[in-house]
Symmetry: C2
């Protein structure tokens, strides 16, 4: 478990050394297990086998770790939303939305612990409020994309775009409750299954 980046301070004899990345991973897992508010820097030090003072060699504060974790999730989701628009500038809104849904599933699977933490944020601090603000900006872009797809006649118009957006990404986000990397469901199968269910529906229609 001890893993040194070259720019880390050399660990003293008998004290495990960790690179920033490892500390962040272990912190995110601990926050998800016992809640961010219920986790102290002392708990994290214990988890890492460090003393309470040694943990501050690795990370300035608990807030710093939360901020890094939420940025990781939000950067991934923002890229998923923005890249679908720029990668295929001539594509229909419908095609771009379908790509965003699939990309979001992949991001969620690749950054599962960070996204799980993000989805539990309730706005209890400045950092959490800023994260909620970034989530809202992503949701607004998604709703605009849904509206554009409805307007071009590709999506049904009998459900309001805001509601479509909530249900669609509610389904995507619900994956954090059960999806585990390395489990029986492959991420690409998962991404295309979500898109198929949402856009084409489950029912078989006589053709």
């Amino acid at each position: 478990m001890s893993d040194h980046a070259s720019n880390d301070p050399a660990p003293r004899r008998g004290r495990p050394g960790y690179d920033q990345e490892t500390v962040l991973r272990r912190a995110i897992d601990l926050f998800n297990r016992q809640g961010y508010d219920g986790t102290s820097m002392g708990d994290l030090a214990k988890e890492l086998g460090l003393t309470k003072s040694a943990i501050y060699h690795h990370v300035p504060s608990k807030e710093h770790l939360l901020s890094a974790a939420l940025d990781e999730a939000l950067d991934g989701l923002t890229t998923a939303v923005d890249s679908a628009a720029s990668a295929a500038p001539g594509a229909s809104a419908h095609a771009r939305l379908r790509t965003v849904v699939q990309e979001s599933v992949v991001i969620l699977a690749e950054h599962l612990p960070a996204v799980t933490l993000l989805l539990r944020v309730r706005g209890n601090s400045e950092i959490e409020l800023a994260a909620l603000e970034r989530r809202r900006a992503i949701d607004d872009k998604l709703t605009s994309l849904v509206r554009a797809a409805v307007d071009e006649g590709a999506l049904r118009s009998d459900i309001p775009p805001e509601l479509i957006s909530r249900l669609l990404f509610g389904m995507v986000n619900s994956l954090v409750e059960w999806y585990r990397p390395g489990g029986p469901v492959d991420v690409d199968v998962l991404a295309s299954s979500v898109a198929t269910l949402a856009f084409d529906g489950l029912a078989v229609h006589p053709s």
Copy 2:
């Protein structure tokens, strides 16, 4: 806020009295706001304006409240699953599944705080483990119903029934994140929108 059931002990002068139902509602809200593990009987007493000893006139323990809340949610969801089967014994599995999806949305809306609490349960105690066991039994019934609908040729067979079931009820359960009774979205519109998206899909197909 003071509301007496006839079998409640008469409150002493200056001490608010509550019926069991009101204590349970306030407890569930408090558990959802600050987490079950993070809430003490002292916190609940404070919330109700009671002394720490007076709260035990109303409720024997915190576990008792959790158990009542989880049973409320689980009884509602079990009824939704079972009633669709018995109400229309000759109906297709597809029709029954569509009814279960809509009924589940209604139950979730009607018992929103209790269902929210249920969906956060992680198995930290005997009561939570028993609730997870009941959830699993409901999930198994849902997956069987999905499988029956696939087998009768009404649902697509290119997504495994277990995955369909997880995605379908993941979408339903995600409603707890944003749906609020009395808000802009009517519960019947919500229930039929969820069913339409899931079974018929969002895409408009040239007919």
